[in-house]
């Protein structure tokens, strides 16, 4: 699967040189989206805006202008990114019909380099989920098996890249939402260091955890997209300074110290996934990497911490959907209070309500110390242990998810669904960068491995990702 698109840098260079036309690339993308509609990866296409931008880019190039590093490259944004003039629903009924009056900084930066947003991808509503089954609209199908989920919450974005709808897509990752769908759909998914990419104009979920990042066919493509998006933004007070040129991926696997997280290879890992991860580790060893097992005892607690911190932040962030200022409003309500109650009651799906109530509970007086504060303390413990692990090794490696793509409807129990993120949430707890790389297949389904690095070591992580990719492909 994949391979219809050239590497992103090559596409941009060919457009800049006049060998490829941006208008043709946009048509190719729109046509593929139409051809692959049965997978339901896309919520809305931006035909007119994309065609107009492509035309403009071609004419600027014809006049001899240099457009940028992503000249004419089509891309797809998860539908929780605000794109100027386009519907932005976060796959939720409460935001149905909301038209973005401004756009995300990430989209601004990509457009400034000549990229063209052609469509918005499906997700679990408000990014709550691991399968896109929580989308209030429809479930996206796995590109490798239509009876299975593509993962989530960025399932539409990952499926879009695997189906060749565009050379890259944007996702968001709060507990694994870029990496797990990448693992399920056989794409490269990159979760940057917390704060490296501005979240201005992206629908907020868990603000101490949320990051945005690229989903692409190769590490090199992901690195280029990250490089364009990275850096401080006055519209997002949590952004950090960019460190370096993220596209310089030189280096060698030889001598790299890679720790295998012992707790992530224990019971609960599907045997098929274990086999692929172990085979990948053997290949890295053969390529000269220094592999050692490393214990991070408290990572086993990361998921429990996550399901306190995340709903707490969700209950706060989703407070703004009040039925008064934007989005769905129940016009039959008799009073303002009724209007809040019924607009939110009708407009939010099951999982959003579940998380809002859990968050309300753990933050309420009498329970705050036992749940929320305790979770913040255990979070500190996990961060400390990860820090100690990174004193011994350069990178930590393991599976992305305990399973391969599961059947649509298979994980109906919410807690069962939450366990999908059991290996991925630690990186969000600590703000560390992490990458999901295709490592092989089991029964025709893709399996990903996760590599994590210390905070701000994004360049080193992308470089090792490229080296690992070369060994595994």
């Amino acid at each position: 699967m994949g391979g219809q698109w050239l590497p992103i840098a090559d596409i941009a260079a060919a457009v800049q040189a006049g060998k490829l036309k941006a208008v043709d690339l946009v048509e190719q993308s729109l046509k593929t989206i139409a051809d692959k509609q049965e997978y339901q990866a896309i919520i809305i296409t931006l035909d007119d805006a994309a065609r107009a931008r492509a035309k403009d880019i071609d004419s600027r190039i014809a006049k001899g202008e240099r457009v940028g590093r992503l000249s004419g490259v089509p891309f797809i944004a998860k539908d929780n990114f605000l794109v100027f003039g386009a519907d932005t629903t976060a796959a939720s009924n409460i935001l149905k019909g909301f038209v973005a009056p401004y756009q995300a900084t990430a989209i601004e930066k990509l457009e400034a380099e000549g990229a063209i947003c052609v469509a918005k991808a499906n997700l679990d509503a408000f990014a709550h989920g691991a399968s896109t089954e929580n989308s209030d609209f429809f479930t996206t199908k796995n590109p490798y098996d239509k009876t299975r989920v593509p993962g989530g919450s960025s399932g539409g974005s990952a499926a879009a890249v695997a189906l060749d709808l565009a050379p890259f897509a944007l996702g968001t990752d709060t507990g694994g939402s870029i990496r797990q769908p990448s693992s399920f759909s056989g794409t490269v998914g990159y979760k940057p260091t917390y704060g490296l990419v501005s979240r201005s104009g992206v629908v907020a979920m868990g603000s101490s955890l949320d990051v945005i990042g690229p989903i692409a066919q190769t590490v090199e493509d992901a690195a280029l997209v990250l490089d364009v998006m990275a850096g401080k933004d006055e519209l997002d007070g949590t952004t950090i300074d960019r460190q370096t040129d993220y596209t310089d991926l030189s280096g060698d696997l030889k001598g790299k110290k890679i720790g295998i997280i012992k707790e992530h290879m224990a019971d609960g890992l599907q045997p098929e996934v274990r086999t692929v991860v172990e085979a990948a580790v053997d290949k890295l060893k053969a390529a000269g990497a220094e592999i050692k097992e490393i214990s991070v005892p408290s990572v086993d607690m990361a998921l429990a911490v996550y399901y306190i911190i995340c709903p707490a932040e969700v209950s706060s962030n989703l407070g703004r959907y009040d039925g008064q200022r934007f989005g769905f409003s129940d016009h039959d309500a008799q009073s303002l209070d009724d209007s809040y109650m019924s607009s939110r009651g009708i407009g939010f799906g099951k999982e959003a309500k579940r998380r809002i109530m859990i968050g309300t509970y753990v933050l309420s007086s009498g329970y705050y110390d036992a749940y929320y504060k305790k979770a913040q303390l255990v979070r500190s413990k996990i961060i400390k242990e990860l820090h100690e692990a990174f004193e011994q090794v350069d990178f930590l490696l393991g599976p992305v998810s305990p399973t391969t793509a599961f059947k649509i409807g298979e994980n109906a129990d919410p807690l069962q669904m939450y366990l999908q993120d059991v290996y991925s949430v630690a990186a969000n707890m600590a703000g560390n960068p992490a990458i999901s790389l295709p490592a092989g297949q089991s029964n025709g389904l893709p399996v990903g491995i996760q590599i994590m690095a210390p905070q701000r070591a994004d360049k080193e992580l992308l470089a090792v990702g490229k080296q690992v990719e070369a060994v595994l492909v």
């Binding site: 429990a304 303002l336 209007s339 809002i356 509970y361 913040q376 303390l377 413990k381």
Partner: protein
């Protein structure tokens, strides 16, 4: 161990301004109970000597000058998403009985 009754769920839903159906109340009392029981494994973790984490990258007090900046958005565009409006203002239902 936490166990949420129908009344507990109703109280939470009221605090969070969520109108629930009868079936939803039943469903959530079971589901929320099992989620809370899962996260209660944290109670046994020793956290002595640790401070709670609020922010992971070490930033503190990020401020900017308190000045109006014109981003060029037309007020009419920004008002387009309002469910109900009158004279360029948000119109809401009555607040007092």
């Amino acid at each position: 161990m936490a166990k949420l009754t129908r009344e507990d769920v109703l109280k939470l839903a009221r605090l969070a301004r969520l109108k629930l159906s009868d079936e939803e109340i039943d469903e959530y009392s079971t589901e929320l109970t099992s989620i809370l029981q899962y996260v209660e494994q944290l109670q046994a973790v020793d956290v002595s000597g640790l401070e709670p984490t609020n922010q992971v990258t070490g930033l503190t007090n990020v401020t900017r000058d308190d000045v109006v900046k014109d981003y060029g958005y037309a007020p009419a565009e920004l008002l387009k998403n309002l469910p109900d409006q009158q004279d360029s203002q948000i119109k809401v239902k009555r607040m007092l009985g």
